[in-house]
C-alpha cells in the first residue's frame, strides 16, 4: 500500500511540472527563452483558484488559469518579440511581476477553502494494481498533461507546423527568408507556453491542494525550466525527467514514514539540489546538448526592411 501511495503522490508532484515544462519546451524550440514560467504559473494558480471559487466550478478555474498564463505570456511576447527587449531580463521581470500581482489578487483568498477538482475514474484501467489508482483515477489535468506531451511530440516531429516551429528556432533569418512570419510564430509559441504554465498553476491550487497560499509555486516554474534542459528539448525525455523530479519532491512527504531522520529543511532542499545535479550531469555532455539545443535560442529577431 505504501508503494501505491507513493506512486499517487509522485503523479501529483510531477503533473504541474510536466505542464509548465512542455509549454516552455515549445517556446524554446521557437527560439525564445522565457524565464517567466514561475510568474505565469503563479498567476495561473491564483486566477484559477479565484474563478473556481466565484463560479463554484473547477473547470471554469482551469480555463481562467490558462487564460491568465496566456495574458502574462503575451505581455512577455510583446516586449521580447516585437520590441526586441532582452529575453533573460524580461523573463525575470515577468516572474517578479507575476509573483507580485498574484500576491495582490490572492490577498483575500488566503485561508479560504477552495473548490477541488474531482477525479474522473476510468473504468477498467483504474483497477490495475499499483498504476491504476495512480494514473487512471485522476483529475482531468493529469490526463491532459499526458495528452499535451503526446500532442507536442507528434506535432513537433511529424507535421509541417512542427517543422516550421523548429526551423524558426534554429535559424530565424532563414525562416524569414522563406516568407514565414517569425515574430508571429514565436508569439504563438510563447502564448502556448503561457497556457501550459497557467494549467500547471491551476493544478496546484485546484487539485494538489485546493487552497491558495502566497508563493505556492515555490520554484516549480524554475524547476520546469531546468527540466527542459534536462530533457534536451525532447518531449519524451521531459516526461521522464519530470517524473524523476516528482519522485524527489515527494521524498519530503514520505521521508518521515520511511524512517529517514534528517531535518525537514534538508528534505525541502532536495528538489533544488537535484535540479543543480541534473543540470551538471546533462550539461557536461556537450555533444548531446549541441545536437538538440535550438540554435537561435535567446536571440531576438528583428526583420530587415
Amino acid at each position: 500500500m505504501l508503494l501505491e501511495g507513493i506512486l499517487i503522490t509522485i503523479v501529483g508532484a510531477a503533473t504541474p511540472i510536466v505542464l509548465a515544462a512542455i509549454g516552455e519546451l515549445v517556446v524554446e524550440r521557437s527560439g525564445v527563452l522565457n524565464l517567466g514560467v514561475e510568474g505565469m504559473m503563479i498567476m495561473g494558480a491564483v486566477c484559477a483558484f479565484g474563478a473556481a471559487l466565484a463560479t463554484g466550478n473547477p473547470y471554469a478555474g482551469i480555463v481562467v488559469g490558462a487564460a491568465a498564463g496566456v495574458g502574462m505570456a503575451l505581455l512577455f511576447g510583446l516586449f521580447t518579440i516585437y520590441l526586441a527587449s532582452n529575453q533573460v531580463a524580461t523573463g525575470l521581470a515577468l516572474t517578479l511581476l507575476g509573483l507580485g500581482l498574484a500576491g495582490l489578487i490572492g490577498e483575500d483568498f488566503v485561508g479560504t477553502p477552495g473548490v477541488r477538482l474531482e477525479a474522473i475514474t476510468i473504468p477498467g484501467l483504474s483497477a490495475i494494481p499499483f498504476i491504476g489508482p495512480a494514473l487512471f483515477d485522476r483529475d482531468i489535468l493529469v490526463y491532459l498533461s499526458f495528452a499535451i506531451v503526446a500532442g507536442v511530440a507528434y506535432v513537433m516531429f511529424r507535421t509541417r507546423a512542427g517543422l516550421v516551429l523548429r526551423a524558426t528556432g534554429e535559424n530565424a533569418e532563414a525562416s524569414h527568408a522563406l516568407g514565414r512570419d517569425v515574430r508571429l510564430i514565436r508569439l504563438a509559441a510563447v502564448a502556448f507556453g503561457g497556457a501550459c504554465a497557467g494549467l500547471g498553476g491551476a493544478y496546484l491550487s485546484l487539485a494538489l491542494t485546493a487552497q491558495w497560499t502566497e508563493g505556492m509555486t515555490a520554484g516549480r516554474g524554475w524547476i520546469a525550466l531546468a527540466i527542459v534542459v534536462f530533457a534536451t528539448w525532447l518531449p519524451g525525455r521531459l516526461l521522464v525527467g519530470a517524473y524523476l523530479f516528482g519522485g524527489v519532491i515527494i521524498l519530503q512527504l514520505h521521508g518521515q514514514a520511511l524512517g529517514i531522520n534528517v531535518p525537514p529543511q534538508a528534505m525541502t532542499m532536495m528538489p533544488y539540489l537535484a535540479t543543480i545535479i541534473a543540470l551538471v550531469i546533462l550539461s557536461r555532455n556537450q555533444a548531446l546538448m549541441r545536437r538538440n539545443t535550438p540554435a537561435a535560442l535567446g536571440r531576438a529577431f528583428v526583420p530587415d526592411r
Binding site: 516586449f79 516585437y82 520590441l83 500581482l101 525550466l225 543543480i276
Partner: protein, 376 residues
C-alpha cells in the same frame, strides 16, 4: 498598421538618458491606473506612495537604510550583467554572507573586542564570495546554466538559514523563538546619525558607488568585464580569459551581496532570523537594470526602489492599500525599463498600408502591433 524596429547606427545619446525616466513615467501611469481600478484615488495613492515618505526626516533615514543593501548588491550584479553572466541568486549570496558573518557572535559570543566587527564583515564577504563561486565553478567546469544554478542555490541558502536559526543556532535563552542570540554592541555596526537606525554600513555601501565606478571605467579588469560581455571574440583576441571573468564577476558580486547581508544583520536587525531580507537580492536586479548597469545610475535607482518599499508600507498604513502593491510596482518598473531600452538601440516606426516587399506580406497582425505601440 505595423510596427517596425530600425536599428540605429549608434546608441541614441538622448534616449540613453531619457529611457529610464520614460520608464518611470510609464510605471507611475500604470500604477495610477491600477490604484484607480482597486478603488483608490490615484493621485492620493501616488502621493502616499512616492512623495509622503520624503516629507519626514525619519523616513528619509529609512529610505537610505533600505537603499544601502540594494545599491551594494546591484553594484555587484551590474558587473555580472556587463560580462553577460546572469547571476540571479544574489538573495542566496546575501543570506550566506549573513550566516558566515554571524559565526563570531553566535558561536564565540564571549569574544568581543575591536577586531570582532571587522572579522564579522570579512567573514560575510567570504561567505558571499564562496557561495557566488559555486555557480561560477558549475558554469566553467560543467557549462551548467548559471541562471538556474544561482537561483536554486538561493532557495537552498534560505533553507540553510532557516535550519540554523530553528536548530543549532537558536538562542538558548530565547523561549524557543526561531532567533539567534542578540548581537552585542561590539558585534554590531555603530549608528552614525543620532536618533536614527543609520549605521556605518550604509555609509560604506554608498562609498562603494565611486569605488565601483572607478573600477569599472578606469581599470583594465573593469574594462575586461565589459569587453567579454559586449564582444566575446574581441575579448579572446585581447587575451582575457572568459573563465576567469566568470569567476571574477560571480565572486565579486557574491562578495558585495555577502557584505550587504552581514551588514544587515549586524546593523538594523541585530540577530539572525528565518527572514532577514524583504527580497533585496531580487529587487537589486531591477536596481541594476534601471541604473543602466552604471554605478551612478544604480545609486539613483537604489533610492527609487527603496522609496517603493517605503511607499508600500506608508500607503498601507495611511490609505489601506495592500503592501503587495510594492512588488507589482517593482515588476512593472523592470518591464518598462527593458522595453524603453529598445528606444536606445532602435528607432520605432509605424508603417501604414501595404508592406514594401513580398516577403514582408506575412508581417505581424494588427492587434499585437497596436499594443506594442502603446508600450513604446
Amino acid at each position: 498598421m505595423q510596427l517596425e524596429l530600425v536599428k540605429r547606427d549608434a546608441p541614441s545619446g538622448t534616449m540613453l538618458f531619457a529611457a529610464p525616466f520614460l520608464a518611470i513615467g510609464l510605471t507611475l501611469l500604470t500604477s495610477g491606473i491600477l490604484f484607480a481600478l482597486m478603488g483608490f484615488n490615484p493621485f492620493e495613492a501616488l502621493y502616499e506612495y512616492f512623495v509622503s515618505p520624503l516629507t519626514e526626516l525619519w523616513s528619509v533615514h529609512e529610505l537610505l537604510l533600505k537603499a544601502g543593501p540594494l545599491i551594494l548588491i546591484a553594484l555587484g550584479l551590474a558587473v555580472c550583467y556587463r560580462a553577460n553572466v546572469w547571476n540571479i541568486g544574489a538573495e542566496g549570496q546575501f543570506t550566506m554572507g549573513a550566516v558566515f558573518g554571524s559565526i563570531p557572535p553566535i558561536l564565540f559570543p564571549e569574544w568581543t573586542g575591536p577586531l570582532t566587527l571587522p572579522t564579522m564583515l570579512v567573514l560575510g564577504i567570504i561567505g558571499g564570495a564562496l557561495y557566488g563561486s559555486i555557480p561560477a565553478l558549475l558554469k566553467v567546469r560543467f557549462r551548467a546554466n548559471e541562471i538556474l544554478t544561482s537561483l536554486m542555490l538561493a532557495y537552498i541558502a534560505l533553507l540553510i538559514l532557516d535550519y540554523l536559526v530553528r536548530g543549532p543556532w537558536r538562542d538558548p535563552g530565547g523561549f524557543n523563538f526561531p532567533e539567534s542570540r542578540n548581537f552585542s554592541d561590539e558585534q554590531s555596526l555603530p549608528v552614525i546619525v543620532e536618533g536614527s537606525r543609520l549605521h556605518l554600513g550604509i555609509l560604506l555601501s554608498f562609498l562603494m558607488v565611486p569605488v565601483m565606478w572607478f573600477f569599472m571605467s578606469r581599470t583594465l579588469a573593469g574594462h575586461a568585464f565589459k569587453v567579454v560581455g559586449e564582444a566575446p571574440r574581441a575579448a579572446r583576441f585581447a587575451g582575457f580569459s572568459s573563465s576567469a571573468l566568470v569567476y571574477g564577476s560571480l565572486i565579486l558580486s557574491g562578495a558585495l551581496a555577502g557584505l550587504a547581508g552581514i551588514m544587515e544583520v549586524a546593523g538594523p536587525i541585530g540577530e539572525l532570523r528565518p527572514t532577514i531580507s524583504p527580497g533585496y537580492g531580487f529587487t537589486a536586479i531591477i536596481v541594476a537594470f534601471l541604473g543602466r548597469l552604471n554605478p551612478w545610475g544604480i545609486l539613483m535607482a537604489g533610492l527609487l526602489l527603496s522609496l517603493s518599499f517605503l511607499g508600500g508600507e506608508a500607503a498601507q498604513i495611511t490609505i489601506g492599500l495592500s503592501d503587495k502593491m510594492a512588488r507589482v510596482v517593482q515588476g512593472l518598473l523592470l518591464f518598462f525599463v527593458l522595453g524603453c531600452d529598445t528606444l536606445v538601440r532602435y528607432q520605432i516606426r509605424f508603417s501604414f498600408g501595404a508592406p514594401k516587399t513580398a516577403e514582408q506580406s506575412a508581417a505581424p497582425a494588427a492587434p499585437v502591433t497596436q499594443g506594442a505601440g502603446d508600450a513604446a
